[in-house]
């Protein structure tokens, strides 16, 4: 068993582009769910619009990438308004249903064969992200790697994660600055009891809308990073489980905390990759009897996701506040 390889793989996943994307999505979800109490189950819809807004602008319309990115983010604002205006006055549960449905509708439309000319439909879309990679300061080459052992990135990956983690830091800082203010206090009051907020003169609808837009745009950034990372987008990358992974990361790190979503995203990918890598090694070393290793082989990814799910269940049972959350705060049940 070569644990250095396992840890190297896990660390690469924990700090790679996938973790950046998850972290950004979780930071946005934290604004929705953690601070405002909005049960948004359609976070992946914002990521999808960020990714496709960018991809379609560049690939289909031939615009510059620097136009495509704002287009993607503007679409996220539009989705937040379209979702929020009719539904934010409804009960939290109804809002949850609408968001999950909206995200699925978007994915199905974008991935439909009728949309091939615009979005590539089920075939996925790809574009030239050269405008981004031209700025890459890292040396590139088939042999150039940054890191040690399996914890290493190519020059291109280094550029994506440098920009990505910078975005994560900026988004976290922006959320910190607005949430520690009286504005953030209104959000938290809406989460705890929106009628109390209303009785004290706060326009609950307007604050929910602001939170929905801000969190949605941050998730849109996650989609933009995804599109740039792969130089394109694929409808299959935006299934509902992306939203659930985002919830997992958020709860893992600590909902309604400033660094929780980032820590959660890093940990999520670390655990997932560690388990998957470990299972592969097990199979390779032939320590397991054939009857177990045969069906296991090829499904390491599925099992590792299952294990992360199990970890989440244990976490909710034994450490509901997450890694960095406040336990007393979490144990207060709102009646």
């Amino acid at each position: 068993m070569e644990f250095d390889i396992i840890f190297g793989n896990a660390a690469r996943a924990a700090f790679g582009p996938e973790a950046v994307i998850l972290a950004l999505a979780a930071i946005g979800l934290n604004v929705h769910f953690g601070y405002t109490g909005l049960l948004n189950f359609g976070q992946v819809g914002f990521m999808l619009l960020g990714a496709y807004g960018t991809s379609v602008s560049v690939a289909t319309f031939g615009w510059s990438l620097w136009v495509g990115i704002p287009v993607g983010l503007a679409l996220c604002v539009a989705l937040a308004l379209a979702l929020g205006i009719p539904t934010l006055r409804l009960q939290a549960v109804l809002f949850a249903i609408v968001t999950i449905a909206a995200a699925e509708i978007l994915r199905l439309i974008i991935g439909s064969t009728d949309a091939i000319d615009l979005t590539g439909g089920p075939l996925s879309i790809s574009f030239d992200a050269g405008a981004f990679y031209d700025l890459n300061p890292y040396a590139e080459g088939p042999q150039v790697r940054y890191g040690v052992g399996t914890f290493a990135f190519t020059g291109q990956q280094m550029w994506v994660i440098t920009v990505g983690w910078t975005l994560v830091a900026l988004a976290s800082l922006a959320v910190f600055l607005i949430v520690r203010s009286p504005w953030g206090r209104v959000l938290k009051s809406i989460r705890d009891d929106e009628n109390a907020a209303r009785s004290l003169g706060k326009n609950v609808f307007s604050y929910k809308m602001q939170a929905l837009v801000i969190g949605g745009v941050i998730a849109g950034l996650a989609g933009v990073v995804d599109a740039i990372k792969t130089s394109g987008a694929d409808p299959n990358g935006f299934r509902p489980q992306v939203t659930f992974f985002t919830y997992t990361a958020l709860l893992l790190g600590g909902s309604a905390t400033y660094v929780g979503p980032v820590i959660g995203a890093i940990l999520f990918w670390f655990l997932r990759e560690w388990i998957e890598s470990f299972l592969r090694q097990l199979a390779a070393e032939a320590w397991l009897p054939q009857s177990i290793s045969d069906p296991l082989s090829g499904s390491e990814g599925v099992i590792s996701v299952g294990m992360v799910g199990l970890a989440l269940i244990l976490l909710v049972l034994f450490r509901p506040q997450g890694i960095v959350g406040n336990r007393t705060e979490m144990l207060i049940d709102d009646s």
Partner: protein
């Protein structure tokens, strides 16, 4: 008290209450200086008429209590007037302006603030943050101001000072940094009243503020309400305890089956036969009221 009603500051209580004393004790009577005027407000739930008020006026700067048996429509009336429920029909004015149908938050910003029978503490926020939320017109509550701390910090400090004074008055100073979710039921009641006062209301509507509050604290809460009225804030509260009602109300309105059946100064209303009927049931009430004439 910190109340923004300069025109009334320093007015002796007797002068404040005197005009209301000249008002006749009859349902729907007009009053010399009403802050709230209710006209034809009607609300049904299915076949049940919850609220059906022809005319009701609430005098400015006095303590008015709203009493009535269970199910009389007191809380529903509060909900309608404060914008938390929609009336089927009817209009009401607040401080001279038509406000019927206005949303709860706009009404609160205009100075009509209510509390709830089932308290609504912001459980995961500390007591002091609950209080600060109440402060009206905070520039830091605007998104584009919020990130720049220097632009709201002074205001926040001033509000914190005021909040701490109120917490002191309501015997909650020692709970300042505790999460509101850890308060007892009585403390929640006090917090809710104190938080409502942070908005500097013109009219404060309290739904059973004394329920579950220990007698000593209830006593001091009653004094607060009287002081508030003296400083020009109008107080309306729902209460079941007749001692409390008789103790601090300047005026009592009795609701039964959604209608105003009597109103007047407490000593007039509490012994009113109609009121006793409403509380004890018609036949029982008649029997008891004749039997009880001597002892009461």
């Amino acid at each position: 008290m910190t109340v923004d009603a300069p025109q009334n500051v320093g007015t002796a209580p007797a002068e404040e209450i005197e005009p209301i004393l000249r008002v006749r004790s009859e349902p729907g009577v007009t009053k010399p200086d009403p802050i709230l005027t209710v006209e034809g407000v009607h609300r049904t739930f299915g076949g049940l008429v919850a609220v059906d008020i022809d005319h009701l006026e609430v005098q400015r700067g006095v303590v008015t209590s709203l009493i009535g048996p269970n199910g009389a429509g007191k809380t529903t009336l509060f909900n309608l007037l404060s914008g938390f429920e929609r009336a089927d029909r009817g209009r009401w004015t607040f401080a001279g302006q038509l406000v019927s149908g206005m949303s709860a938050d706009r009404l609160a910003r205009r100075g009509m603030v209510r509390t709830f029978q089932l308290t609504k503490p912001l459980a995961r926020l500390p007591v002091i943050e609950n209080m600060l939320l109440g402060a009206a017109d905070q520039s830091g509550e605007r998104l584009w101001v919020a990130p720049v701390r220097s632009r709201w910090l002074d205001e926040e400090r001033a509000n914190t000072e005021r909040a701490e004074q109120l917490l002191e008055q309501f015997n909650l100073a020692h709970m300042r940094d505790e999460l509101a979710g850890t308060l007892s039921g009585g403390q929640c009641k006090l917090l809710e009243v104190a938080r409502a006062l942070m908005t500097e209301p013109k009219l404060i509507m309290l739904d059973e503020p004394m329920a579950g509050v220990n007698p000593a604290l209830a006593q001091s809460l009653m004094q607060h309400l009287s002081q508030l009225a003296m400083s020009g804030v109008s107080v309306v509260f729902i209460e079941h305890d007749m001692n409390v009602v008789a103790g601090i109300s300047d005026w009592v309105v009795v609701l039964a089956e959604g209608r105003v059946i009597a109103e007047g100064p407490p000593w007039n209303v509490i012994h009113n036969d109609l009121v006793i009927d409403a509380y004890l049931g018609r036949s029982a009430g008649q029997a008891e009221s004749t039997e009880r004439e001597e002892p009461s």
